[in-house]
């Protein structure tokens, strides 16, 4: 597997201009002869599909929800970063770049991160022009707040519904192109394979989730914008139907999978309440602007929060990280919370929780000001827990939230399969080993609006339009293998439900490949997953038929992929013998702080498929830090 990152020449701030200039262009009259498939309609997919259609390409866009507007991006709460420096507090493109490289614990590609910081400002302009109703100040100008890992206020927001408003902006742009017949939209349609012809991605296999029909679509290039794989843990803050299928099946066709073990555990989620739990709910990081995190000083202190005086509280983030305090980055805040719970100081019935307390800010600013900032989050919390967060502190606990790993892409967002591009959370590119808050929305939109529309031209300019049609045998072969898998799943007629397998896998992943990982635990996990996978193919029960809506069948295909992917994740975690960002190996730490090994692990690990996950081959893309120098990451 050849890993050419194709980083452009020049100083860091010239690279993107250089690439745009060097690249071959498709002449405007020829663009309409090319067809591009976009899988996904979240921020990355909707932005990419709309922008490429505006340029004149024929676009086909796919999503499994009943409408493109319901992609998981809709659920993002807190905000989106941009180096606008509207606050005059010393922000700049360079500072956002610096914060992101450092926040990612020096495991991202500098050139990509710089471009992301550069494009961040255009995103806000674009969104406002589309009518996205960001929060404003009384003077009518845009408001900002702070997020973890930054000492400036650069986060733009729309109450606690930033993802919704940004996605509705991108969905509106997409809808306009659908109305103009420049994009053909296929909702309730799931991509189940990539068709590779002569080494290039030239189409996909899909299943119509209403009729069960399995079809192929041919194109000149394919762009995957299919989101993250956090649901490998079963319980996560992701929407229920998020999955790894699209990227995993592309991996099986030859796309390298990078850093699968990099997952983000978010510090502020509502704790698990029971076995029936189907998903976890995030309480946005923005709450840490005004909420203070604490646990009782004494072990096993069962008094009500209000009865514990300040002198007997441990505001552990403020104590351990005085300069960032409650706004320490996610990986650090999550581990700190876990540590105090391990010490027996966790709160609630299970002892797996810490307080997020708004008492002081309500006293300082008034209840109304807090309601204006976080009203919908408080409302959501009250609904789920039946507790009033205005009068008693929220109970929170870390939960799986985001996946930094994904398909490996070069600077142009092209995977190791030529013609297959990957945008948004589905790729591995910009966040290294830990993503800072409010930068996934930024990355998805930068990729979709401003990167892929240019870089895809560089690829297409070297391709004859329509050179491959759906009649090539590779299409029928791929469709047949999808049909075969469907038949197999329906034929097993075992005893255990799909959810039962998924839940079991999730428990293995959370306990052995979650907050803290060790060689022993990971080896056990690999063996358990292999056993579980074998059981799945013998004993899963999927009822109904393939030619109708069949939600168990849809889930079964996704869980089958998670059962392979989970093993690769554990292998990746095992081979990365260091701690960095969200990847914490018990063997490599200094008093609970991650110990990186730059000598041996300053690279992205890229896995090549060889049949079974146990045979996958690990390759490396060496990372070079020419601008932000490798240093121990400190938030003290």
């Amino acid at each position: 597997m050849k890993l050419d990152s194709k980083i452009p020449s020049g100083a860091i701030h010239e690279k993107w201009s250089n690439r745009k200039f060097e690249q071959k262009l498709v002449n405007p009259a020829n663009k309409r002869k090319y067809k591009v498939i976009v899988v996904g309609s979240g921020l990355a997919g909707a932005a990419a599909a709309a922008s490429m259609a505006e340029l004149g390409y024929q676009v086909e866009c796919f999503c499994f929800q009943d409408s493109p507007r319901r992609a998981h991006s809709i659920a993002a709460q807190g905000g989106i970063n941009a180096a606008k420096n509207y606050r005059n507090d010393g922000d700049s493109v360079y500072r956002l770049f610096y914060d992101t490289v450092k926040g990612g614990d020096f495991r991202a590609r500098e050139a990509n991160v710089y471009r992301l910081a550069e494009l961040s400002v255009n995103i806000i302009d674009q969104a406002v022009a589309q009518g996205v109703p960001f929060a404003r100040e009384y003077g009518g100008l845009l408001d900002n707040r702070s997020f973890g890992g930054a000492q400036v206020s650069r986060t733009f927001y729309a109450r606690g519904q930033t993802g919704q408003q940004l996605l509705l902006g991108a969905y509106a742009a997409l809808s306009r192109q659908i109305g103009l017949k420049a994009v053909k939209m296929f909702a309730r349609t799931e991509m189940l394979d990539v068709v590779v012809v002569d080494g290039h991605a030239k189409g996909i296999v899909v299943r119509d989730l209403q009729t069960g029909e399995i079809r192929t679509h041919a194109a000149d290039a394919v762009v995957l914008c299919t989101g993250g794989y956090g649901n490998v843990f079963y319980l996560s803050t992701n929407a229920k139907n998020c999955n790894v299928t699209a990227t995993w099946r592309a991996h099986r066709r030859g796309a390298g999978f990078a850093n699968p073990c990099y997952t983000q555990i978010h510090p502020t989620c509502i704790p698990v309440s029971g076995d029936h739990q189907s998903k976890l709910t995030l309480m946005s990081e923005s709450l840490r602007n005004d909420g203070r995190v604490w646990v009782p000083l004494k072990k096993g202190d069962k008094r009500k929060a209000a009865d514990i005086p300040d002198t007997e509280r441990d505001y552990f983030l403020e104590r351990k990280y005085p300069s960032f305090g409650n706004l320490a980055p996610r990986d650090i805040a999550s581990r700190a919370a876990m540590t105090v719970c391990d010490e027996g100081r966790g709160i609630g019935d299970t002892g797996l929780g810490v307080y997020l307390d708004f008492r002081d800010s309500i006293q300082r600013l008034g209840k109304e000001a807090i309601a204006a900032r976080y009203g919908n989050l408080f409302h959501m919390y009250a609904k789920i827990t039946a507790e009033d967060p205005y009068s008693r502190p929220m109970r929170i606990f870390p939960a799986v939230h985001y996946t930094m790993g994904g398909l490996w892409v070069d600077y142009d967002l092209q995977s190791t399969i030529p013609g297959l591009f990957v945008c948004g959370e589905a790729n591995f590119s910009d966040h290294g080993a830990n993503r800072l808050g409010a930068s996934a929305l930024m990355q998805g939109l930068a990729d979709g609006y401003f990167v892929i529309p240019y870089t895809i031209g560089g690829y297409l300019a070297g391709q004859k339009p329509g050179s491959v049609d759906g009649k090539r045998p590779e299409f029928a072969q791929a469709a047949a293998s999808v049909a075969e898998m469907t038949k197999r799943l329906l034929g097993i007629q075992g005893k255990r439900t799909v959810d039962d397998f998924h839940r079991t896998l999730g428990k293995i992943m959370w306990s052995k490949c979650g907050m803290a990982r060790s060689e022993k635990g990971l080896k056990e996990a690999i063996a358990s997953i292999q056993g579980l996978r074998a059981d799945f193919w013998k004993d899963v029960r999927v009822l109904g038929d393939g030619m109708n809506v069949n939600q168990s069948l849809e889930k079964a295909g996704r869980v089958a992929d998670f059962l392979e992917f989970g093993e690769l994740m554990c292998r990746d975690a095992l081979e990365r013998r260091e701690s960095c960002g969200g990847h914490f190996r018990e063997e490599w730490q200094d008093d609970g702080e991650a110990r990186r090994d730059d000598q041996n692990f300053c690279h992205a690990a890229v896995w090549e498929h060889k049949g079974e996950p146990k045979d996958a081959v690990r390759h490396q893309e060496q990372l070079h830090f020419e601008n932000v120098h490798l240093a121990v990451r400190s938030y003290k």
């Binding site: 409408s67 408003q165 509705l168 306009r176 409302h379 009822l543």
Partner: protein, 265 residues
């Protein structure tokens, strides 16, 4: 908790004009429900039990389970999203029901939303209405600096209140005329309060109203059931605003070149 559920089961997509022909209510007994479960988690439990018994699970749309994606629907005891105001089905918890309760669960009923299977309906009519004009015609790439368009906070807030619509369709399901006026009004209102949105206000109002009629949504007769059912509490003022925009658009002459302004690819 112990519950008796009556659930609409339907194998194939609606064809008959009279929905009663397409499926039927089936009774299920369910034990061991915890008050902390969400309504959908309760249905998950039922589905797991059905699968174990060899019966096909009940189909329903859901995704975020946080009240924001608009996937979940369900008529619960005759009310869209159930008894609690300002709450989607996925955010409704079983503590809102009493032990021993009997609960009737049906899909949205509207001509423009045919049932696909069991509790799942086809809401693509909403997407087609949006495609007709619920956007600002701006291509990627050329906008001015975001702060070059100041928006008075009060206007921004009004636009925001309308923009929070999640497109679930509860308003249509609640309305005896199956009208989509609250949904479409929310779109119109969102854009009319922003300076960027005012450029195309006449074409937008005209095209959206035409698209809504074409999809077979009914008329508004001021019952206000939609506002009561809306999980995001979108106010009926957006309907009045839409009517005003539409009348205003009628007064302004239609552009000679057809429907859409600035809609070039």
């Amino acid at each position: 908790m112990k519950l008796t559920l009556h659930i609409w089961r339907q194998q194939k997509r609606s064809t008959a004009a009279d929905f009663k022909q397409d499926g039927r209510m089936v009774r299920y007994e369910l034990d061991g429900v915890s008050p902390d479960m969400s309504f959908l988690e309760m249905l998950d439990v039922l589905n797991e039990q059905l699968i174990k018994k060899g019966e096909e699970p009940v189909v329903f749309d859901h995704d975020c389970r946080e009240g924001i994606c608009g996937s979940c629907s369900l008529m619960i005891d005759g009310e869209p999203h159930g008894p609690q105001s300002g709450t989607t089905t996925c955010q409704l918890h079983m503590r809102s029901f009493r032990d021993g309760a009997e609960i009737w669960i049906e899909p949205w009923r509207a001509k423009a939303f045919p049932v696909v299977k069991d509790l799942m309906v086809d809401r693509s009519a909403f997407d087609r209405v949006v495609q007709a004009g619920a956007f600002i015609s701006v291509n990627t790439g050329a906008p001015q600096d975001a702060n070059a368009i100041p928006v008075p906070k009060a206007d921004a807030d009004r636009a925001f209140d309308a923009a929070t619509c999640i497109g679930c369709g509860a308003c249509v399901a609640a309305c005896k005329n199956a009208s989509a006026m609250l949904f479409v009004g929310a779109k119109v209102s969102h854009f009319m309060h922003l300076p960027q949105g005012r450029v195309e206000r006449e074409t937008r109002a005209r095209n959206l109203v035409a698209a809504m009629d074409k999809e077979g949504f009914g008329n508004c007769t001021n019952q206000n059931e939609c506002e009561a059912a809306c999980p995001k509490e979108i106010p009926v003022r957006v309907i009045a605003e839409m009517n005003r925009e539409f009348l205003r658009a009628k007064a302004v002459e239609e552009p000679p070149s057809g429907k859409r302004v600035g809609g070039d690819g």
